[in-house]
């Protein structure tokens, strides 16, 4: 499994994403001006502050040449994972439902949270079971996922709610404690928490994030 990790000006988690992907396969950086995803089996859009997050987080990055390639890649069923700023970019690009708003409490948050797997049907959670808990850090200021009630009802119905913050641990006021969602086909997933920062138990106390990076290989096997 070969991962391509996007890098925009202002990305800051691409190196940890490369390291995480490198534990389960091979990984390379895809510069934001590149449209070449040949030889890449899965794409990770990492965290950071792409293009300074000017206007709204992710609003400008969605027009990057690399994102045109990612949109085609996703339409062909290629696995795409958006983490934090990457999640914001995928929502702005219309590849995922909803939008990310400033945290309810306005503060930048940095803490470990427990996530509950809601649906394991997607390409990115195949290594997990519904109800499983993953311990992963969050670090964001604009992480309050929002969609209108009607949309959220439909997403719950179709199994597109992938991850929730465990009871009492919603850090940002996101709608119905939702931490991660998928597209309808299940090949694109976005989440605010950072699985790439939880791949080495000795370093960060949890290696639960690896389950996510392990999953696409299982889907294609």
């Amino acid at each position: 499994m070969r991962f391509g990790v996007l890098q925009f000006p202002g990305s800051c988690d691409e190196r940890d994403a490369i390291a995480a992907c490198g534990r389960v396969g091979e990984a390379e950086i895809i510069w934001h001006e590149s449209t070449d995803l040949s030889g890449v089996d899965a794409v990770v859009v990492p965290g950071g502050f792409s293009y300074g997050d000017y206007l709204r987080a992710g609003a400008i990055a969605r027009f990057a040449p690399a994102m045109e390639a990612v949109t085609r890649f996703a339409a062909d069923g290629g696995p795409v994972l958006g983490i934090c700023n990457g999640f914001q970019v995928l929502c702005e690009a219309g590849l995922l439902p909803g939008a990310l708003l400033p945290n309810e409490g306005r503060k930048f948050l940095c803490r470990q949270v427990d996530l509950e797997v809601v649906s394991a049907d997607s390409v990115w959670l195949g290594a997990t079971e519904p109800g499983q808990t993953l311990s992963v850090p969050v670090k964001h200021a604009n992480g309050r996922w929002f969609a209108p009630d009607q949309t959220v009802d439909a997403l719950e119905e179709s199994g597109q709610i992938a991850l929730r913050y465990a009871a009492g641990q919603n850090p940002n006021g996101s709608t119905r404690d939702i931490a991660g969602v998928t597209n309808e086909a299940g090949n694109v997933m976005g989440l605010m928490p950072h699985p790439e920062h939880a791949v080495d138990a000795a370093l960060t106390g949890s290696a639960d994030g690896l389950e996510i990076f392990r999953s696409p290989a299982l889907a294609t096997a």
């Binding site: 206007l55 709204r56 609003a59 400008i60 027009f63 702005e92 909803g98 939008a99 708003l101 400033p102 945290n103 309810e104 409490g105 306005r106 929002f146 969609a147 209108p148 006021g173």
Partner: protein, 75 residues
Amino acid sequence: MKARVLIRPKEGILDPQGKAVERALPALGFEGIDNVRVGRLVELEAEDPAHLESLCEKLLANPLIEDFEIEEIEA
């Protein structure tokens, strides 16, 4: 033309920035100010105003969470 685009959080969506401003006011002695909402103002000059609406929908605002108004300043 010269235009001004006013972008604001949609009604019903919590605006933590507005809340923070609202809560700071009594400390400065300004009483009786409620429902503060903070938006964004974008000024621009457009050769062809026909595209303004779509430009706002695609980039300047996210219609899921924000409303926008285009105001012509100068033809």
